[in-house]
Symmetry: C2
């Protein structure tokens, strides 16, 4: 019951890209380094987001990644769905055998409601609500 590390990485990378959007493509290496995310792993995540059209990727020298959407136009819900698939909260494990035994089992409804509420919250925020602030760590 937790969003994956992939989600965290992806979201933070998008924040970073949102901030640099005007300044042209940002390389994988830069993002990975600044955000301390394993490069090869982040590569997969960005590839995935590129396929979904959230970012655009440019090959070759002076290439990199650019945010392909208006930060204010893309909700957290959309992002999380694109990274990790739809937010599912419950799966009836009795399905095959005896879910039918429970004609009035409320679990379906309760957890459906839970999913709706999660969706509602996530849909209220967009990338524009998040800022990557590049200040130095307090401890330094």
């Amino acid at each position: 019951m937790i969003f994956s590390r992939k989600t965290d990485y992806g979201l933070r990378a998008l924040m970073y890209l949102a901030e640099r959007r005007a300044r042209g493509p940002v390389t994988l290496s830069e993002i990975a380094e600044k955000l301390m995310i394993p490069k090869a792993f982040l590569s997969k995540i960005l590839q995935q987001l590129a396929k979904k059209g959230v970012v655009r990727s440019l090959k070759g020298p002076s290439g990199g990644f650019v945010l392909a959407v208006e930060p204010a136009e893309v909700t957290l819900q959309e992002i999380l769905t694109e990274i990790d698939g739809p937010t599912r909260v419950f799966e009836c494990f009795a399905t095959e055998s005896d879910c039918t035994l429970y004609g009035d089992c409320l679990m379906r409804d309760v957890f459906g409601e839970v999913e709706d509420q999660i969706g509602k919250v996530l849909a209220r925020y967009t990338l524009a609500d998040f800022r990557y602030t590049d200040k130095l760590p307090a401890k330094a």
Copy 2:
């Protein structure tokens, strides 16, 4: 992002116990068989719930498990927390190194809000809202 099978098993077992409450202790074997849950696994779950005081366990012949609380007094939220721990939805993976870099990172708040909403829904239902109905499968 899904509630565990353990949760499903535990919840269904509690429903069953709620239904049989008046008729004295129910053995592990009976619950496991009726609900098609691996016996040894269910044993662990019920042990856990026994320690938390949700069920009471009686050893020896004619022993078994009895629900120790009023079905209407225990919310889904409490049950799920007792089975799987508090519902956490997000964990900042940047914590040690650079979470402090993001003084105004909203993730904490957004996901906190998500957790609140989940809690609210789950707190609205109690065991009494669920019924274990022992009818035969439609297909039979």
